[in-house]
């Protein structure tokens, strides 16, 4: 999957179902945004009715509300509580099972040959997938499950037609325009019409586009798409200071960590909604007969006290130390570990923090502290 | 008994007095004598008058405390280059622990009353002595505190 590879066309919105059908016919499990429990989440899509047409969202620190908006298209919402990592790096995953044989045991690894297709992937989310690629498949070790699924994954991206109040992708160089890492990219155009501008980003995408009945994209289509993206970008209010990696590392012992601690509930919401957080734990279990054992991997969070437990006690006893671990890992250490920031500016951690702690605001505070010191 | 010149040299060579002004070293030598202790012999007994302190030249000394119902507990061992004893600087100048040679040990013994008198008469000498004994006390206190942590003990103890 590379940059836009040339194929461009207009798909009328009423033909969106044909795209879904083509993806299904190629054997993919198609996952996309859908309405559930008053939130837009990612789940299996059977048909176009599963998409949240006419629904928009309002987000602010500690706040997420959906609203009906007759003018809203299929992808008028911004990112919700789910991210794509839950399909490539599931929250609970059986790594293997083992059965006792004589004095020993034998190990079986589960196989999953499902091919995944994601529709509605935002620029920041592509960035997040690429960040997790670096963790799970570009280091000295490869996570087999992740690597295979990711490699076979079809990405149908969407350019954001608006930004949430919590978005700051533009200052993370992660959006709002989709520029790479997709098979198809959609831009929903609704000025006096309802169409999708489709751009291809891979040979797979090209082949897919050929299966669809489309018309040629004209200059005015590109102009409308560009104007919409420019407006989205212009509406982004929050930003992450570019010197934050060094700033945080200079103030690891500042008193402000205690101020954050006094607000933070250590609930771990931020790490669960974060599309790049990859920490996990493993649990080994046996059944009652003791003949059958399994190893499961579960999402874990650096906000849990047990996370840093070594015999004798946990390293990070205080909430301040645990918040510091999270934000410094995300914004500072990630650069040293993986060559990029660990933040895409998606704003989920701001929205889903029950007390509305805002990563951009805390970053700005540390920059102020840095200026004063 | 060795000559005063010999004691002078031993004092100047011992780490505890190294770098000290020769004049002061000579004053200290005037209070010093050369002694040796067989393995098992006590240099110091708890409760006795602290009338000497010792610079260990060779050998090893255990600082011990006697506890009821068991053999003595060794609190620390001192070796070549160490200084033994500071109760001679702390009124009422009584030893708080035992010190026993655990092998043949050769020391420079310094007459505490003699040196206290000289330090009283020349506070600069007193200052020199205190600035050398303080780091020793500090090091021993740190070591005692480290051992208080029971670093190698069972991690589950007390939880």
């Amino acid at each position: 999957m590379g940059k836009t590879s040339g194929g461009r066309a207009i798909l009328p919105a009423q033909s969106l179902q044909t795209l879904i059908d083509v993806v299904h016919s190629q054997g993919y499990r198609l996952i996309g945004p859908t309405l559930e429990d008053n939130a837009i989440v990612y789940d299996d899509l059977e048909n176009v009715e599963n998409l949240p047409l006419g629904i928009s969202d309002r987000q602010s620190p500690g706040n997420y509300r959906l609203e009906d908006d007759p003018s809203a298209g299929y992808f008028a919402h911004v990112v919700g509580p789910h991210s794509w990592k839950r399909f490539l790096f599931p929250a609970a995953q059986k790594l293997w099972s083992a059965t006792r044989v004589d004095q020993g045991f034998s190990i079986q690894t589960p196989e999953d040959e499902t091919k995944l297709a994601f529709i509605g992937v935002r620029a920041c989310e592509i960035k997040a997938l690429q960040m997790q690629d670096r963790v799970f498949s570009q280091g000295p070790f490869t996570d087999n499950g992740y690597g295979e699924k990711r490699q076979n994954c079809l990405i149908i991206a969407v350019n954001c037609s608006r930004a949430a109040d919590t978005c700051f992708c533009s200052s993370m160089d992660a959006g709002p325009r989709v520029t790479e890492g997709f098979d198809l990219a959609l831009t929903e155009l609704q000025q006096g019409r309802h169409d999708f501008l489709i751009e291809t980003g891979s040979a797979n995408g090209e082949a897919l586009l050929k299966e669809l009945v489309t018309r040629k994209a004209e200059d005015q289509d590109f102009a409308e798409a560009d104007a919409q993206l420019a407006a989205t970008e212009a509406s982004i209010q929050r930003r992450m200071p570019s010197n934050i990696p060094e700033v945080l590392e200079r103030h690891l012992q500042d008193e402000h960590w205690q101020t954050i601690e006094s607000r933070c509930l250590n609930c771990s919401n931020c790490t669960l909604v974060c599309p790049t957080c990859f920490c996990s734990t493993v649990e080994d279990t046996t059944d009652l007969t003791g003949q059958h054992a399994e190893r499961w991997r579960y999402w874990d969070s650096c906000f849990n006290t047990d996370f840093s437990y070594i015999h004798g006690g946990s390293i990070r006893q205080s909430g301040a130390a645990r918040y510091r671990q999270w934000i410094t890992h995300k914004l500072s250490y990630w650069h040293k570990q993986f060559g990029t920031s660990g933040c895409t500016g998606c704003g989920r951690c701001i929205t889903w923090c029950p007390v509305g702690i805002d990563i951009t605001e805390e970053a700005a505070t540390f920059c102020e502290i840095d200026k004063r010191s | 008994m060795v000559s005063v010149e010999g004691i002078d040299r031993m004092i100047s060579e011992h780490p505890f007095f190294s770098g000290m002004e020769p004049g002061y070293q000579a004053m200290i030598a005037g209070c010093a004598s050369n002694q040796s202790f067989e393995a098992g012999q006590y240099l110091i007994r708890e409760g006795d008058n602290a009338d000497h302190f010792y610079l260990i030249r060779h050998g090893a000394v255990a600082i011990e405390v006697h506890t009821q119902g068991q053999t003595s507990v060794t609190l620390e061992t001192l070796h070549e280059g160490d200084v033994l004893g500071w109760s001679w600087l702390v009124p009422p100048y009584h030893w708080l622990f035992d010190a026993r040679a655990i092998q043949l040990t050769r020391v420079i013994a310094i007459d505490a009353a003699c040196l206290r008198e000289k330090a009283e008469a020349d506070h600069s000498l007193g200052y020199e002595l205190y600035s050398r004994i303080m780091p020793v006390m500090s090091e021993r206190l740190s070591a005692a505190r480290l051992r208080l942590l029971d670093l190698y003990g069972s991690p589950r103890k007390g939880q």
Partner: protein, 277 residues
């Protein structure tokens, strides 16, 4: 069933012998079910899986020149290690590894070597000691400084005595507590550093023990003038995956499992300065 080697899937090893070292410490001798050799570098560790009970990170304590037997010395401090303690010969265990960085025995060629360790910390250093002794002529002075809780807690006591009896290596053992029948040293390890015989500016120091002991040992070494980047420490953090996926063992920007456990002190000095890092 997938046959490709997933880094999270253990290989089977059989317990050949179990040897009691101390009241709570034991050594397992394992061989691969496949009969393959198990090459490793001194300082590396494995994840040992006890069927149904769980997995623990344990450093390798055997001789790197004998890759046909895998040796682990383990202190029973939790449910898995307690379970491993009751292993019998013939039992099967899962092994993932070897993982992590090694003691810099090659880079230290020509240098004096000071090994500073306490308690179970001697186990991860033993492979390095074997290597140094097998290549004795390539190094300057070799000094081993070891601390234990009491004389009864001295790990590998017979070996320490054997090393001590050699003329080309100096071994000092000290304990925290003893009664008067102990004729050795009583005191802390950092104090041994002040008097040990080595040339500070040409010394590589290898340290493994409780973090506080390492902190004070580094200080004592620095006071003697040993260069910061010639001091190596083996760090302990929570490890679940051993391959940098699970995030538990992070220490600043380092993953202890894959960037460590052996670090040049200069690389992780912040861990000694900043609390709860």
């Amino acid at each position: 069933m997938k046959t490709s080697q997933d880094p999270m899937t253990p290989n089977l090893f059989q317990v050949q012998r179990i040897r009691r070292e101390l009241a709570d410490t034991f050594t397992l001798e394992l061989t691969a079910e496949s009969n393959n050799e198990f090459p490793f570098l001194p300082g590396q560790f494995n994840m040992i899986y006890l069927f149904g009970s769980g997995e623990v990170p344990i450093s390798i304590s055997g001789d790197p020149a004998q890759p046909n037997r895998l040796i682990h010395t383990i202190r029973a401090v939790g449910s898995v290690t307690e379970g491993l303690k009751s292993c019998k010969s013939g039992d099967m265990l899962g092994i993932r590894g070897p993982f992590g960085s090694a003691w810099p025995v090659e880079q230290a060629t020509g240098q004096d070597i000071v090994i500073i360790t306490g308690g179970i910390g001697l186990a991860p250093l033993r492979p390095a000691i074997y290597h140094l002794l097998a290549n004795r002529q390539r190094y300057g002075k070799i000094v081993i400084l070891y601390g234990a809780r009491t004389p009864a807690d001295i790990l590998f006591r017979k070996e320490l005595e054997r090393w001590r009896s050699r003329f080309d290596i100096s071994v000092e053992v000290t304990v925290d507590q003893a009664v008067s029948n102990w004729s050795g040293r009583v005191g802390v390890v950092p104090k041994l550093i002040n008097r040990a015989d080595f040339a500070p500016e040409e010394t590589t120091a290898l340290i493994c023990g409780p973090e506080i002991m390492m902190r004070f040992s580094v200080k004592a070494l620095q006071e003697r003038g040993v260069k910061e980047d010639h001091i190596y420490v083996s760090m302990e953090r929570n490890m679940k995956c051993a391959i940098g996926f699970c995030g538990h063992c992070q220490l600043g920007s380092q993953f202890v499992c894959k960037d460590g456990p052996v670090f040049p002190y200069s690389q992780i000095s912040s861990a000694f300065r900043i609390r709860e890092l």
